[in-house]
């Protein structure tokens, strides 16, 4: 049992030590500092507390596993009806980097129905082996049969690390698999680094992105991590194929389920600006109502929506539900491009936590430039058409 021992005599100031714990796990009881159940054993108190005040002891050591029995980096191919989610290719790219450190192979696990032909596509991205489970029971994502196939794959192939896209499917499948294998799972990693001993350094944001945590799975295999879409870089698609497809079979009985998929419905297109990853904002710099179409075209190309400042909503050019700010909506998109917005405090209050802020304004003194990460001093009537042309050229529209 690993635990922390508190050496009371070495604590000059109780409150100072208690304050170090980010989890509120240190408290004072009868004049002594004690560790409560909130402790996450992050051991910050040992590192940052007064010398020798906190001590970490491990009475019984768990036997060490043989890491050499587990080899390779596996990627779960996320897909619907064989259309592979692009996060899969990004993860293959990352897996190749990771596998290069230990000189091991990259595997892809692809399960579904009538997907055999579609698995060929994966060979253009540099995986060494694609393990295909092609079965009627796997036509639709259902938690029990999908977990069973994953288990079968892990037991047969014994990959050292597994990457799963943090899609709505990956986020429920990965934990079931991790619990079945009694191993660790780290969610939403933003940085992954392979060590030579095959331990994976998994770095993820915690506390709403205010701090980063570095997590390891030192004595369990496989080590499983989920990664969100658009975090890693996808490799370019090679003209030629490489690697092999391995057809897999398993006990049919394992594929039964208590879930019946009754229907698949198209999703209503999201209209709330709060849910958009990308926003293009129209301010009073927009001269005519029809000019908003230019912003809309850009937003469509970026997969986002148009939002506006209050004067634009008041003029009736846009509906009030698209207004950002104190008297409008608060948004936190990944990307926001403001066009002709001065950046009044009431507006900025509704968007200044956005991940990346671009502001286009022809007044170099506009207050919006205080909040923006990229300040484009210029006329958006000049810039946007050129930007739109470039994007269309790239997308081949």
């Amino acid at each position: 049992m690993a635990r922390l021992i508190v050496h009371q005599e070495r604590i000059p100031d109780h409150q100072e030590l208690i304050n170090i714990c980010p989890f509120g796990a240190l408290e004072e009881q009868d004049g002594k500092v004690v560790v409560n159940a909130a402790c996450k054993m992050c051991r910050l108190c040992i590192k940052k507390g007064p010398e020798g005040a906190m001590e970490y002891v491990e009475d019984v050591k768990k036997p060490e596993i043989n890491k050499d029995e587990w080899k390779g980096v596996a990627v779960y191919a996320d897909h619907v009806d064989g259309t592979i989610h692009p996060v899969t290719f990004e993860l293959i790219g990352k897996a190749k980097e990771m596998a290069a450190v230990t000189g091991q192979e990259v595997y892809v696990l692809f399960m579904g129905n009538e997907i055999r032909d579609k698995s060929e596509e994966i060979l253009h991205y540099g995986a060494d082996k694609v393990f295909v489970y092609d079965k009627e029971e796997l036509a639709r994502f259902k938690i029990e049969p999908y977990t069973a196939v994953f288990e079968d794959f892990i037991k047969k192939v014994k990959p050292s690390s597994i990457l799963v896209g943090a899609t709505t499917v990956g986020r429920q499948l990965a934990p079931r698999v991790a619990a079945r294998m009694k191993t660790g799972l780290t969610a939403d990693c933003t940085i992954l680094e392979m060590n030579e001993n095959s331990d994976l350094s998994q770095i993820r944001p915690a506390f709403g992105g205010n701090i980063m945590a570095h997590i390891k799975t030192p004595n369990h295999r496989p080590q499983i991590a989920t990664v969100r879409y658009k975090i890693m870089n996808a490799p370019a698609r090679a003209e030629s194929k490489s690697g092999v497809i391995v057809d897999c079979d398993m006990d049919q009985e394992m594929l039964s389920s208590h879930v019946d998929v009754i229907d698949i419905l198209p999703k209503a297109k999201e209209t709330f600006i709060e849910n958009s990853d990308v926003l293009v904002v129209a301010g009073r710099g927009v001269k005519k109502e029809e000019d908003i179409n230019m912003l809309r075209e850009l937003a469509d190309l970026l997969g986002g929506q148009v939002a506006c400042t209050r004067p634009m909503a008041e003029s009736g050019w846009m509906d009030a539900k698209y207004q950002i700010g104190l008297s409008g909506r608060t948004v936190r998109p990944k990307l926001i491009i403001t066009c002709g917005v001065s950046g009044a405090i009431q507006f900025v209050a509704g968007m200044n936590h956005s991940d990346t802020i671009f502001a286009i304004n022809n007044d170099p003194k506009a207050p919006i430039f205080k909040s923006a990460h990229y300040c484009l001093v210029g006329d958006f009537y000049d810039i946007l058409p050129k930007l739109i042309a470039k994007i269309k050229e790239k997308e081949g529209v």
Binding site: M1, P22, G24, V35, N36, A37, C39, K40, M41, C42, K48, V80, F141, K142, T168, V169, Q172, P175, A178, A179, K182, G184, L185, A187, Q202, P205, A206, F207, G208, N210, I211, M212, A213, H214, I215, T217, K230, S257, H258, V259, D260, V261, I264, L265, K267, L301, G303, I360, P364, H373, Y374, C375, L376, V377, G378, D379, I383, K386, L387, I391
Partner: protein, 262 residues
């Protein structure tokens, strides 16, 4: 219908900062509250109970002060509460947390339906629910955005998928992790709060579990270990771009491409 809702106490604010010099975390006070996502799970349970009758219990794992969120659940309408609290549960990662909760649930009896929130605001993994289901060998559905039908043998729900919605019928017993906005959570009622003021909360420790092996709980039962905690790279960089429309359009395009939006 016996329904169990898993609820967690989380810090009131996730405004923690790391002091860049000392590396020590600075917290914005130590106040705690119910994980906001779990309010939706409680509301869902109460709505089902209002239709079918039965009982809504809540369970939480955490330090003794987590009794606070169980009391809050009482004042919303929950019937019984259990807290799993033991120093030996400390330092638990997702696997050990879900194992402890599953052990606790087993010792409490059989439930037709277990509900979890989508995720917590501190752990923020959305993994505990599916892992509890795995330990209890139950079918599970996450991202439940609405309930369509309630029948004797199962429940039909809408599951949110990246580009579509899957309508699925799940047989009881099962576990659902519900999304935000499935129902608007009610406010705690003052009357209920007064009525339940003295209601007992069952406290379970490791000694009450079927599996008494300490190595399966807390830090010992956790495959993952936090190596260190550090501040993120801050986004306080600022670039000012002047120049012709052509040049600005090109720079903007390059940046948007680098950020993978095109």
């Amino acid at each position: 219908m016996k329904i169990l809702v898993c609820i967690k106490q989380v810090p009131d604010s996730n405004k923690v900062e790391v002091d860049p010099v000392t590396g020590v975390l600075k917290r914005d006070g130590a106040a705690s509250k119910m994980n906001p996502y779990d309010l939706y799970a409680i509301e869902t349970a109460l709505r089902i109970k209002e239709k079918t009758g039965g009982m809504v219990d809540v369970i939480s794992m955490g330090p003794p002060q987590a009794m606070q969120v169980i009391k809050e659940a009482f004042s919303m309408g929950a019937d019984h509460g259990t807290l799993l609290s033991d120093r030996r549960f400390g330092g638990a990662d997702v696997l050990a947390t879900s194992y402890t909760l599953a052990q606790g649930i087993k010792s409490m009896g059989e439930y037709d339906l277990i509900l979890c929130g989508k995720q917590t605001t501190d752990g923020d993994t959305a993994q505990v629910g599916p892992e509890i289901a795995e330990w209890l060998n139950l079918p599970s559905v996450s991202n439940v955005v609405s309930i369509r039908m309630f029948e004797e043998d199962g429940i039909t729900v809408d599951m949110d998928l990246p580009d579509e919605v899957e309508v699925a019928k799940v047989k009881f017993p099962c576990l659902l992790a519900v999304d935000k906005d499935i129902f608007q959570p009610r406010l705690p009622s003052y009357v209920k709060k007064t009525e339940t003021k003295d209601r007992k909360i069952q406290i379970l420790t490791l000694d009450d579990m079927t599996d008494q092996d300490e190595l399966n709980y807390g830090l010992n039962g956790s495959p993952t270990q936090v190596q260190k905690i550090f501040p993120p790279e801050t986004n306080d960089k600022k670039e000012i771009w002047n120049g012709s429309g052509d040049m600005l359009a090109k720079k903007l395009f390059d940046k948007v491409e680098e950020l993978k939006f095109v």
